[in-house]
Symmetry: C2
Subunit: 253 residues, 2 copies
């Protein structure tokens, strides 16, 4: 029995929803309301001490961190449609890209998302209440991110994040000159990773970097992603984002 604790179909949560849908695996969806800080509540921290979504529960075995969850689904369900190449070189190519997205893309796109959306939420909370919220956040880095969301990300960090996204966009565009998908001819977890953390919203979140002209293959690739039934099914999962904030999310729908 599979259960996924997740939030809106974007970023980390989308990255785990797509493989489940693409592989046609039945799972119980447990919505964790980030707007109510449920991810830091005692019931959730009892499941994932790091207080972060998504979390996979497979017959009671808890798996956290999206890249680990994705490979786990490949290993645990070998008869479902694969999202990882069968050959060692293909696997290495996929993991190279997963590592690149995890270490050089995710946090930088996320900073701009937080700057425009989470900062609005963080500033709407009264000081005493905000301090109580911070106390409940298990991970130091996450606590600092919330603190900064309230006080404001600094300009040089935001500019550096934009630079990182430009490097990533150019790198992906360059790869798509050579291969149809990021790791080669096959649609893999690497495509799902980059799409969920960057590809799906890069145009809206970074209008100034000129994705349309500098990365036409990336746009074609993103369109091919959106047409996949599994991706479509993941993208229509419930979204309870406050509509007033949704314009800032760069949501692809």
């Amino acid at each position: 029995m599979l259960k996924l604790y997740h939030a809106e179909p974007i970023a980390n949560s989308l990255k785990s929803l797509i493989p489940l849908k693409e592989k046609g695996l039945e799972f119980e969806s447990v919505y964790v309301d980030l707007h109510k800080f449920e991810q830091h509540s005692p019931w959730f921290v009892a499941i994932n001490p790091e207080g972060q979504v998504p979390v996979l529960d497979h017959d009671g075995v808890i798996v956290t961190h999206t890249t680990v969850i994705s490979e786990y689904l490949e290993d645990a369900f070998p008869d479902a449609p694969p999202l990882r190449p069968a050959d060692p070189v293909g696997k290495a190519r996929m993991r190279y890209w997963n590592k690149f997205v995890d270490e050089h893309v995710m946090n930088y796109v996320s900073m701009h998302g937080w700057h425009r959306m989470v900062s609005v939420i963080a500033r709407s909370i009264e000081s005493g209440e905000f301090d109580k919220l911070l106390e409940r956040i298990p991970l130091h880095e996450q606590r600092e991110k919330w603190r900064t969301a309230r006080s404001g990300f600094n300009d040089s960090d935001l500019a550096n994040a934009t630079r990182k996204v430009e490097v990533a966009v150019d790198k992906v565009e360059q790869q798509l000159r050579l291969t149809r998908w990021l790791a080669g001819d096959m649609f893999t977890l690497a495509d799902i990773n980059f799409f969920s953390h960057c590809g799906m919203m890069v145009q809206r979140l970074f209008p100034d970097i000129g994705v349309e002209t500098r990365a036409p293959r990336l746009l074609d690739w993103a369109q091919r992603m959106r047409e996949r039934p599994g991706v479509k099914a993941a993208l229509v999962m419930p979204d309870r984002t406050n509509p007033a904030l949704r314009t800032f999310t760069g949501h692809a729908r």
Copy 2:
């Protein structure tokens, strides 16, 4: 035919040398002299455009990034002694730790290593020469790290890095209360990762955090690592570090 381009048996290079030795795989060792900045020279950048060691060449297929190389060796040589659990849950546990070391340990230990050793090298180079060296470094982050090594890492970054190492030491100690190795009963790539980037030199590099008293299981685990024939064989690979600098490296030998 396997070929490994690598530097001294510590950190990244050690992390790839140990699996090759543990698996008993024959390989050609190509020493890349970091003291002469060979990793940024045209012949090496032609092999790895990112200008970093180690690099695996398997019959002409180039694989970079140590965690990717490690899993590649598991996939490409299924008949050699495994360093990755056979079951999906074990694999997920191993990957959780690999990700933790890659994202929350490696760069923080490295900053202190650079602070004490590479800074000495960087400051010994004349300005004009140093600028030329910087120009040849392909990765922006690596260029900035060299620049900072010369100007000096700032105290708050160094203090934060020490804090990250303390968190890691406590987390590993906690895990070793539960299991013999990081990912469970089996010695895996996760142990090799943490040992190479932190475990082998944490006492010498961070004498003030009191590893002896706070992490006795970690010390026992590091000793068990050093007794493995494959680890021993990797640790005796050539080390051309300037002896005057070697005291700063926290070298385990």
